[in-house]
Each structure stands twice: as C-alpha cells, then as structure tokens.
Symmetry: D2
Subunit: 258 residues, 4 copies
Amino acid sequence: KNNFFLIAGPCVVESAELLEEVAYTVSGICKKLAIPYIFKASYKKANRTSANSFTGIGDEKALGLIQAIGKKYHIPLTTDVHTAEECAIAAQYVDVLQIPAFLCRQTDLLIAAAQTGKVVNVKKGQFLSGESMRFAVEKLRNEGNEKIMLTERGTTFGYHDLVVDFRNIPLMKANDVPAVMDCTHSLQQPNQSGGVTGGNPGMIETIAKCAIAAGADGLFIETHPQPAVAKSDGANMLQLDKLEEMLEKLVKLRSAII
Amino acid sequence: KNNFFLIAGPCVVESAELLEEVAYTVSGICKKLAIPYIFKASYKKANRTSANSFTGIGDEKALGLIQAIGKKYHIPLTTDVHTAEECAIAAQYVDVLQIPAFLCRQTDLLIAAAQTGKVVNVKKGQFLSGESMRFAVEKLRNEGNEKIMLTERGTTFGYHDLVVDFRNIPLMKANDVPAVMDCTHSLQQPNQSGGVTGGNPGMIETIAKCAIAAGADGLFIETHPQPAVAKSDGANMLQLDKLEEMLEKLVKLRSAII
Amino acid sequence: KNNFFLIAGPCVVESAELLEEVAYTVSGICKKLAIPYIFKASYKKANRTSANSFTGIGDEKALGLIQAIGKKYHIPLTTDVHTAEECAIAAQYVDVLQIPAFLCRQTDLLIAAAQTGKVVNVKKGQFLSGESMRFAVEKLRNEGNEKIMLTERGTTFGYHDLVVDFRNIPLMKANDVPAVMDCTHSLQQPNQSGGVTGGNPGMIETIAKCAIAAGADGLFIETHPQPAVAKSDGANMLQLDKLEEMLEKLVKLRSAII
Amino acid sequence: KNNFFLIAGPCVVESAELLEEVAYTVSGICKKLAIPYIFKASYKKANRTSANSFTGIGDEKALGLIQAIGKKYHIPLTTDVHTAEECAIAAQYVDVLQIPAFLCRQTDLLIAAAQTGKVVNVKKGQFLSGESMRFAVEKLRNEGNEKIMLTERGTTFGYHDLVVDFRNIPLMKANDVPAVMDCTHSLQQPNQSGGVTGGNPGMIETIAKCAIAAGADGLFIETHPQPAVAKSDGANMLQLDKLEEMLEKLVKLRSAII
C-alpha cells in the first residue's frame, strides 16, 4: 500500500538463464517485503560509448525472453525504446516503455510512446532540471496518456562524474506523477578514457536511502549475479546477493516517512 | 587557403524568403572575405523543449528549399538528422549531415549517417568531454567514412547555463578532423521556466574569437534578419546585419594564428 | 543516545532579544525531542557579497550575548572564526569553533583553531570534494586536537546554484568524525545580480531528510522568527515556527536508520 | 602601448637563485617583445591542500628576496596576502597586492589591501561569477583605491577539474579595470586523492591565446626552470624555456585584436 515500488533487473538481456536467475531472486525478495516489482532489461543498447561494446542478442529474441519472465512470474515488465518505430514493437511485449535520458527531449519518440497507451517512464536528461521535466509530461499528456513516471538518474557534474540533486524528486512529483530514483546509473563515471563508463556501487545504498527520504515513489536498480562479467554497465550494477539486505533497510526507512 | 570556414544560416526553414535573404547576404560576405561557406538550416526541429513550439513547415518542402539555395548560390549545404531513416532522405538534398548534440551517442544514427557517404558533423553532447568524441569518430570510421567534423556547442554548467571549454578544440582536433565552434547554441540558457531556451547574443563575438584563437577550423553561427521574431532559437541567433563586421575581425585574428 | 544533534540559531547576532527568542524556542523543542542542541550565531559576518551589507553589532558585545545564552540555557555554543587571532578570542566564549567554507583551506586558521583545544567544525568549501576534507582533518590532528566535525554545505553548480552531493556524508564520516549537514546555506542561490544571496527554504526539509538518510550525525539549520526582516541570509533561513514539526519528522526518520 | 602585460614568476620563493634565474630570463624576453612585466612570487603558501606541503622559507626573508629582484631589474613586483595584517607588511616590499581566489570575499582583507594604496589584484573565486566581481571592486573603491585588477583563474567544474569561462573577461572589464588571465592555476586539477593538486601544462598556450582573443589586458603565468622539482604547483607551471616562443605567438595575436 504505502511501500515504494522497484524497477530492477540486469542492464541488458544476455541470456535466458540470466533473466531467470535475476527475476526468480528479486521477485522472491519483493514478495517477502511487499514491494511491487517491475522487471527491467534492455533488449538492445543503442548508445554505448564505443562501437566495440555489446549491443544485444537480437531484438525480437530478447523481447521474447523478457515477455516470458512476465508470464512466468506474473510481474509487469519494462524496457527502453530509442525510436518512434520501436515503441509499437516493444509495446507488444512490455507494460512500461522507458525513454532513455539522452532522448528525453525527442518529441517524436515521446509522442509515439504515449500513443501506445502503455505507461511511459521518462528518464531526466543529465542536462535537464527537474522542473523542465514538466514539458516532457505535457508532451505525453497532449496525446491523452496519463500513465507517466519520471526518473532521476543524475546530472552532469564535470566530465567524469554525475551528481544526484534530490531537490528533483519533489520537483518532478509536483507534476502529479510518480518519481523514481535510478540508483545505479546515477553513480556512473562517464567519459572514461578507455571507452567504458565507470561506476561506484559502494554508494548505491546511500543514494537509495536519500531517494526514499526525499519522497521517491519508486527505485530503479540494475542488478546482476556477477557484475564483473556483465556485458554492460558492470561497473555500476548492484551485486544480486546484496539486494535483499538493502531493501530491508529501505522498507524500514520508508515506513518512517511522513 | 588558411582561412576558417563558416556554417551559417537560420535555425529552421521558416520560408523561402528567409533562406534567400540569409543565403544572399552571407554568401556575399563570405565571397568578399574568402571564407568557405556552408549554408545551414534545420528542416525540422525534433527536440523542442515544449510541445507547443514550432517544428517546421513540412520535411520535404523544407529540404527542397534548402536544396534550391545550394543550386542558386553554388554553396554546400547542411542540415541535422534525428533518426537512421532521416539520414538517407536528407542525404539526397545536402552535403553535410549534422548529428544533434543530444543524439551524439546514438550508434544507429551515426552508422546510418556514415553510410550515406556524406560528410558527418557530430555535435558534442552537453554531457560529453572533448576526449570522448573519439568514440564517435571511431563509429563513423568503422563504416569507412573519413569525412568527419566535430562541433563544440557548450557543456552543462548548472541547469540554466552552458560553459564553453576551449580545451575541447585541440582535444577534438587530435582525431585529425576539423573542429567547429558553434558560437550561438553554446550561449543558450537552458531550462528556463517558460519552456523557451534563453540566450546571450552579446557574447557571440567573444566565443568566436576564442574559438579562432584555440585553433578551430570552422565556425557555426545561426543568424536571422530579425531574431526577435524567429520561430526557433530567437534568443541566441546573431542579427544578420552584425555578421560582416564580426567576420572581418575574425579573419584578421585568424591570420595572426601560428 | 542514537539521535542526531542540532546546531541552530540565527545567522548573525542582531540583538539580545533575537538570541533569547530563538534559544528559548529551539532549546524547548530539542528537550522535548531528545535532540542534543548547540546554539549558533555569528558575531560578525566577514564575507558578505556587498560592502553595504550588515556585518555585526560589535564583536565583543555579540560574543557576550552568545555566552549569556549558553549560561542561561545550559547549552553548548558555536560561532565562526575568520583569522588565527579570532580563534583565541572566540574560544573564550564558545565551545565549538566553526571554520567557514571559503576558509577551509587556510592552514594557519585551522592550526590556530585546533590549538584552542575547542571542538573545531570545518565546513567543506563549495569547491572541495568530501574526500579532500581528510586533509583538513589531518591539519587539525597534527595539532593534537581530535575534537573535529565536518559540515557539508553544498557544492558550486553553475554560478547561481549549489547542489548537495550526499555521497559526501559517508565520505566525510570515513575520517571517524561526525558529519553535519548544513540544511540552509546549502540552498543558497549565489551570485545574484543584486548582491544579496538568494535561497530556497521550501527545500530545507528535503535536504534534512536526505541528510538523515545518508547517515549525517548532526544537522545545521539557521532559523529566525521573521526571515524576511533578518539582517543576513534572510532568503534561506527556516522560519522559527516551522522548526518543531520538521524535527519531529526527522527524529522519526532517524529511528528507522540502520 | 597596446600590448598585454605579463605577471610571471615561480609559484613560491624557494631560493635567491631561483628568483634570479626566472627574473633574468623573463625580463629579457619581455624587454625584447615590449611586454610590460610584473615579477610574481609567493612569500608563503597559506592554503596548501596538505599540512605536509612546503609553505615557505620564512616571510621576511622571502619578501626581501622579492624586493631585491625589483631593484636589480627595475620591474614592479607582486605577491599574495592572506590576512589584513599581511597587507601592510607586504606593501613595504611590492607594488601589487594579490588577493587569493579563496579569499576574494573576505571584506577585511580587501579593505586592508585597498588602504595600503598599492594596486590590488583580486583573483576571482572558483565559486564566483565574473559579474559578482563588481562587489569586490566596490569594496576596494569604497576605500578610495582605484588601482584595481581582476584575475580569472577558472571555475569549479566537478571536483577534479576547473573550466575557464572566457565570458568572464569582458564581464570583469566592464568594471573599467584590467582583466588578467591566470593561465596556469586555471588548469589545476584539484581534489586529487594524493593531496597534491594536478595540472595540465600542455593547455597553457590554448588558454593564453583564448584570453588574448577575449580581450584580456594581462596574462599571469607561473614558470619554473624545472617544474618537476618545484616545491609548489609543479604540475601546472610552464617550463621556463618554453615561455619565449609562446609569448611571441601571443604578441602577434594581440596585434590582430580589434
């Protein structure tokens, strides 16, 4: 009832086995803790730093694997879309369409996502203020879609770091939409010289706690059984076996929010 | 021979008359000052802050008007593209495809642009370092396209301001590609509460002079006979009748660069 | 026992009546909520933006008024010092010497403060990382003083805004010292054209809650019965009659931190 | 007549021999290139990151060595002051009192510097806008001192980098005072984990050229025959034998500024 919800999963669909392991574990924890759970995985990575990075196992194959998780565990699903065309395709498989932060100002993409009738979760660009997200909300509402979520994922702070400005949580909620905190991407260390984005998983719990304290309605956490061998975002995902203990603390914290 | 080149024009195709006025004036100035000139106009605006902003007069109509300018004045043309599909279309009309800053990490878009065989001009994202642009260059070169330009357009500096880091000019040139300074968008004041991006045209000359001093190969300047009534970016375009005097100063400055 | 402590008071000593009103009210609330309370007021303002701003009623007179509050209410006292000479003087009146953020790198000042044997509370400069504060701690410990606190008060984020990076709370605590969150100065809007720093008191509660969630040991809150007529920092102080309700929420939140 | 002036020297007085070598070389170059030259060295370093860093050879001894340089080479002198008391002392030895960036808001220091009647050069804090420096100018003019210079030395840009915003050159000149570009400290890389500030001397020429292009009246360059063994700021000083070639380019550039 008054708990936060959780969007979680591996960064990208690597294999059926990976999705199964993560969904089994996280859905079990969330049932125990009464946390509404939305399974997340990207079916393709469209904006990797380097051309040599892994981008996916094939779009339809990956979307099918995501869909199978939803059926097996009876949980809603989300994935991210990158063009107007992808919206209609992905909408056949998932319940929530996520707009990537770099693309949050692309009007055609927002309109196409809204027109699917699915929930649309817009990530705040690293270059945008929380207040400016009201224009993204307007673009979606103009299409008659009121199922909107906004996600904070950190703001550009010099070239090699992001900072989370928690004022953005109440500012985004002022649009009468749920505000989500992306606790893993917001710890990215971008613009690394090797072409692989860095991270700081030791701070995930601090970011998550602050988000709950600031009134976030949901948390977004990428998790993987072995981040060190993950095919994307290994530097900032939470190790799967650390999730339960952290969520317990967060549920307790949430209960003290008035 | 050793002069800088100029990419200039109105922000967006508003009418045939506007393109004609700007192209006639700027091509005349550039001929006089021996500045190689590339005419620029957007055929559509895909990432306006607000859904209520002007986005264009129709894509093909606008592209046709741009093309007519090239034929009449014998000058190369550029416009910006937003999806992989748009690349092949726009390539039929213009010589240089410009990748918008927000989209500079979208691998599919870069690949599609490269595959047209046209020159590709990638604007540096407000969230990227000059060094990171080498990964954009790699993505283009992987497709066998060596006709590449990189453009600096300012970096996120708090929510309501951009800052130009001129270290990025030599850092981008280190990829053996021309570096361009966008002297007007880099003065934008984003995230204004009214939903219309602000600007600071009084600083255009300072930015342009610094760019020449830092070794920029080209300048990008949006210009309009009456910025105050322009349908996009009116707050930061240079008034057309101020262009010649400024370019004279810049040509003199360029001649003193060693 | 496990509660946070509170450093609070008006920005500057304006009059005996003001100190009395604030100390009476805040000490009453803190007794009720079992919050250890340290009374704070500046006896002079040394770094006002403009030469025309109020700087104080006279140093010794102001220090005397602060001292009287401590005697009457049996509470520890703090004020800020700006030169090595001021340390020995202020140490005769107060229990905690506060080093202003702009001065946190002035070695002579830190040494003089440490040598008084009083508690030294160093505010993190707007230009420093949480990690770098370990060098301030070292400078104090080198003088044999282990009574150290560190305070986060926001980081430069463009010219006209500060951002609070809550990663700094655990990073500063890693020095085995209490970390304090300055919930009012961190909301300053600096570099206003009128020469008076702005603020955003509507966000004080959000910053305070996040600080508790991030593990802060203490909160610093400037408060005034009528901020609009205060002689300094009126734009960011908390109105005195809003303090109790907010502290109740924070005490509840603190009890849920594990 | 229309040339820029140069403030240059080693970061700190290490020895008489060092001052002699630098002053001999730089004054020779400046005479050849018709650049007015002001010799600079700090007699003590008051805000080193770490307590273990070198702070000086003794104040009066260092000031005496600086003074001897002025007499021998018939050049004006500058050094930085940190407290009101130091102003009167340093004013006996040098012609220009420099206010460090961290201290540019300390009203007592500015007033004491102004009251010496010497030229006062205020460095813009890493946390201040160019526009805000008008309040520093006012504080000095209030004391009847009109001999004022303002220096840009970079702005906080994340924790580990500074960025130079060249808009600040015309903004500071708008106060009818000379604007100086500090080409070496503005390339500092602060908050390094080892407690020693980093630098990027390969970019000094780019910063200096942009400054001239933006209309700076003077350049500030710390230089040392062997930066790698310098006792302070070794990471960002210009190697002495690279100065002449760079200044030749800058003089040529300056002649093309209109």
